[in-house]
Assembly symmetry: C2
Homo-oligomer: 224 residues x 2
DNA sequence: TCGTTATTCGAACGAACGTTCGACTCAGGA
DNA sequence: TCCTGAGTCGAACGTTCGTTCGAATAACGA
C-alpha cells in the first residue's frame, strides 16, 4: 500500500524534515550509537531502504540535525540581539533564547549536547565551526559586560563555559510537568550568572529583564 | 605465553581494577554503545573471553565503573565535610571535592556524566540511589546557606542542578595543558555560585576559602 | 499510449556485535 | 605423582548492524 507519489519538491523536503524529527527523538532516547537505522525506520514509518533515498548515511542524519539546530538557534539569537545594546540585557537575551529553544526542542538539544564527538571529517568541521561562532557571540557579550564595569576580572572562557554548562545540563533533569518553563528558568539562570560575575555593581534586573522580554516576545511571534 | 598464574586474591582484584581503568578510558573515548568488548580487550591486553572471567557482561562493566566512582567521591566528600560547619565553606568543599576528583579521573567522570540512562534494572536502581544521595548532600548545604541568610529565595533544585551543570560540563571543554587546574577552577566556580546565589550579604571569600583548603589538603594527603 | 522521472521497499550483503564453550597451562596440596 | 582449581584464550555461536541493489509503483509530459 504505497503512499500516493507526489513529485513535488516541497513534499519531498517535508518528508525529510519528518524523518529528521523522528531521528532526533530516537537519537535522544537511545544515543547515536545505541540507535539503529532500523529503529528510525520503525519510528518514522519509512522503510529501511526508503530512508536512504533521503539521507545518504546515518552520520549525515546526525549532521543534518545538529547543523539545522545550531543554524536556527544562532540566527534567532542574532535577530533578538539586534535592537538591544545594554550588555546585561544582551546576556539575558542569550540565556532566554537558548533555554526557550531548548525546552521547545528538547530532543534536538539533547542530541546536540550529548553527541558532541561522534561526527568525523567534513561534517565534524562544519558543526564545530558554527558552534565556535555561537560560543564567540557569548564571549563577546561577556567582554561587553566587563567593559561596562559589570563583571569581575574572571577568566572569560571559564565564565562563559560555566554558563553553557548550567544551561546544557538541563537535558539531564528537566521534567516539563514539574520544573519551571523557559521564562522562569532563564530569569533564574541569568540572575545567577550576572550576580555571580559582577562585582559590587548591582544589576538593574527590572530594566534589563523588561527590555529582554519585550524583544523576545516579538521573536516568539515571528517563530510561531 | 600465559602470564604466571598466581592464585592470589589480591592479584585477581588488581587485574579487575586494571580492566576497569582501561574500560573507563575506552567508554570515555567512544561512548558506551560505540565501544565494543573487543576494543576493551585490545586496550587492556586481556583476551576477549578472558574478560568474561572477571566481569559477567558489558553492562556490569559500566555499572562497576559508575558505582565505584560515586562511592569514592561521596565518601571523600563526607570526610572532607566532617570538621566544617560554615555553610559557604561547606559549599566550597563540595565544589573543590567534585572538581578535584573530576580532573584526577577525567575518564571515569566523563562516563558518569554521559552514560546516565544506559543501565537497566537493578544496576540502574543502585546507581540512581547513590547519585540521589550525592545530590541530597548538595541540597542540604544549599538549605544551610539559606538558613544562614546567605542565599536568596531561589528554587533550590534549580540552583543546585545549575551548579552541577557548571561542574559536569567541564568534561566537554577542559584541556589540562591550557585550562586552570582544580584549585583555581573550584575557586572561580564557588565564587560564581556563592555570589550568584547570595543577596546583599558579601561572602567572606578569604575565610571560607582558607578553611576549605586546609581541610582538603589533609584529604589529598590521605588519598595519595 | 509510451517513456521518463520520482519514490518506495523486500531481500540480501559482509562485517561487527556480545557472549559462550571447551581446551589448555600451571602452581600447590595430597 | 596425580589431582584440583584458578586463569587464559582461540574459535565459534546466533544476532544485529549500516548499507546496497533491483524491481515495483505512480504521476506526468509528450
Amino acid at each position: 500500500m504505497p503512499r500516493t507519489a507526489t513529485p513535488d519538491s516541497q513534499t519531498a523536503s517535508r518528508k525529510l524534515e519528518m524523518i529528521l524529527r523522528h531521528s532526533a527523538r530516537v537519537f535522544a532516547e537511545k544515543g547515536y550509537e545505541g540507535a539503529s537505522i532500523r529503529d528510525i525506520s520503525r519510528a518514522s514509518g519509512v522503510s529501511l531502504s526508503g530512508l536512504y533515498y533521503y539521507v545518504e548515511s546515518k552520520q549525515k542524519l546526525l549532521y543534518l540535525i545538529q547543523i539545522h539546530t545550531f543554524n536556527t538557534i544562532l540566527s534567532q539569537l542574532r535577530r533578538n540581539l539586534e535592537s538591544v545594546s545594554d550588555p546585561a540585557a544582551r546576556l539575558r537575551i542569550l540565556v532566554h533564547n537558548h533555554l526557550e529553544y531548548f525546552l521547545r526542542h528538547p530532543m534536538e538539544m539533547k542530541v546536540l549536547a550529548r553527541e558532541d564527538d561522534v561526527l568525523a571529517g567534513e561534517y565534524r568541521r562544519e558543526v564545530a565551526e558554527i558552534k565556535r561562532r555561537y560560543y564567540g557571540t557569548a564571549l563577546e557579550i561577556f567582554e561587553e559586560l566587563r567593559r561596562a564595569g559589570q563583571a569581575r576580572q574572571l577568566n572569560p572562557r571559564i565564565a562563559v563555559l560555566s554558563l553553557f554548562g548550567m544551561m546544557n545540563w538541563i537535558h539531564t533533569w528537566h521534567r516539563p510537568q514539574v520544573d519551571p518553563q523557559a521564562e522562569a528558568l532563564s530569569d533564574v539562570m541569568s540572575q545567577m550568572f550576572l550576580h555571580g560575575v559582577m562585582n559590587g555593581h548591582p544589576v538593574d534586573s527590572q530594566k534589563t529583564s523588561r527590555a529582554a522580554r519585550s524583544t523576545l516576545k516579538v521573536a516568539a511571534r515571528a517563530a510561531g
